[in-house]
Amino acid sequence: MSDDTRRHTAADPPEGSYLWDRSGPPDPLVRRLEALLAPLGHGAAAARARPRRARRWALGAGLVAAAAVVMLVAVLAAPARPSGWTATPVAGRPGVGDGALHRPRALAVGEWVSTDASSSALLERGGLGRVTLDPGGRLRVARDRPGEQRLELARGGIRAFITAPPRLFLVDTPAATAVDMGCAYALHVGEDGAGMLDVTSGWVELVGKAGPSARVPAGLVCALTAGSGPGTPRRRDAGAALADAVARFDAGSPEAVGDILAAATGDDAVTLWHLLPRTARAARERVAARLAELVPPEGLDLDAALDLDPPALEAWWDRVQRGG
């Protein structure tokens, strides 16, 4: 393999590379593409359309201001009523309540939608998004009110695509509640209440009925265990050694921490951060040391983080999210 090809097929652009943050020597191809494509971008579009855009924006701003006043009055007086969920058969013949779902229909709160091995259903709510119930599932609307849209997934898998503001949409499972933070994700629950969350866009907060919660950004997965709550998030494409070590740790083998630390790379800071409240002091110090190599805690109170002081942990989480 030639040096050029090796450069073009490197696993990741190193920090400081032009593609990543325009630092380092400019990549000629990236520069050429930037020059070609920049006229299509927002900045160029805004400049071209400024007179029309300004009139529309001024009009839009006026409407928005009026709408905001109406909304404020409505919120102070009484919350607006939601529009409700509808269920639509996608494949086969899903069940709803005591009958079959033949065509789109409104769902009542508490009414179960169930799918067998050959059926699936789509639940939609205007202004919130849509949820697909895969074969072998059982799902119902648990709460439908302003500020809280809550589903209950008893078993099976769903794929959610949510456009509502964060923390409005929640899904209860036997092991944990998935709190949407503006995202798309897949969530599966087995007959034993155990499951797996796979976030494809945005992030999801998993709040356990027991144990610490988990914050799962896009590109990561997290197991759920009935009675134990959320597991430890890890990259979807993590190597077998790390995935196996995380699974063993989540299953109750604290000695697996050593294997996690050995297998963790620079992209596993989220996993390591989640280990801090899940480990005893001695192991936690090892975790913190490894995490500090990936995301240096300069200016943070490391001792407080080791004591699981919430502000200290949050400050480190901010660094982890920003990549150090």
């Binding site: 191809l29 971008g41 529309r56 001024a58 839009g60 964060p166």
Partner: protein
């Protein structure tokens, strides 16, 4: 000197200024530049109506991106259009020096969604990797992977793999 037609700075305008490249870039990953311009306005008008429900300011970016994706898909469905996935994959790409912006955008749109959006945000809208990560609430690692693998695939689509 500010003209009477220009908007007065407000929280809404600040939100628009911060996230307009993100929204426009996500839309551009699916629809034409002209349609992206128009749909971006609709996304913000729609988003502003629900702004008061946003409890976590840090999640505004992913939320706006999701609204933009939904808007793009609804638009494509309503206009019975599919994202064009053919040209660059089916016939040899023009030489690098003859590539047009339309050629490159077509090639980017033929990539998987995660790579497509990240590349548009980086190469068209000019956001850096850290900015993309911050606005989409993604880890730096995920964005790095999308950028690098997306560029790899784009080079192959444009027929320039291994070319210095």
């Amino acid at each position: 000197m500010r003209s009477a037609a220009e908007p007065t700075p407000t929280a809404d305008a600040a939100l628009h200024e911060r996230f307009a490249p993100l929204v426009h870039g996500v839309l551009l990953a699916y629809v034409s530049p002209a349609d992206a311009d128009d749909l971006a306005q609709e996304v913000f008008v729609q988003a502003m109506r629900r702004l008061g429900e946003l409890r976590d300011a840090a999640a505004a970016g992913p939320w706006l991106a999701a609204v933009a994706r939904n808007k793009a898909r609804d638009f494509l469905r309503a206009h019975a259009r599919r994202p064009v996935l053919r040209l660059v994959g089916d016939e040899p790409a023009p030489p690098l020096a003859e590539l047009t912006a339309a050629d490159v955008l077509e090639a980017i749109r033929s990539l998987p969604e995660a790579y497509r959006e990240t590349l548009v945000l980086r190469l068209v809208e000019g956001l850096t990797g850290p900015q993309i990560a911050e606005r989409l609430a993604m880890t730096h690692g995920s964005v790095r992977v999308n950028l690098c693998r997306g560029m790899e695939m784009l080079r192959r689509k444009l027929g320039i793999e291994g070319t210095p």
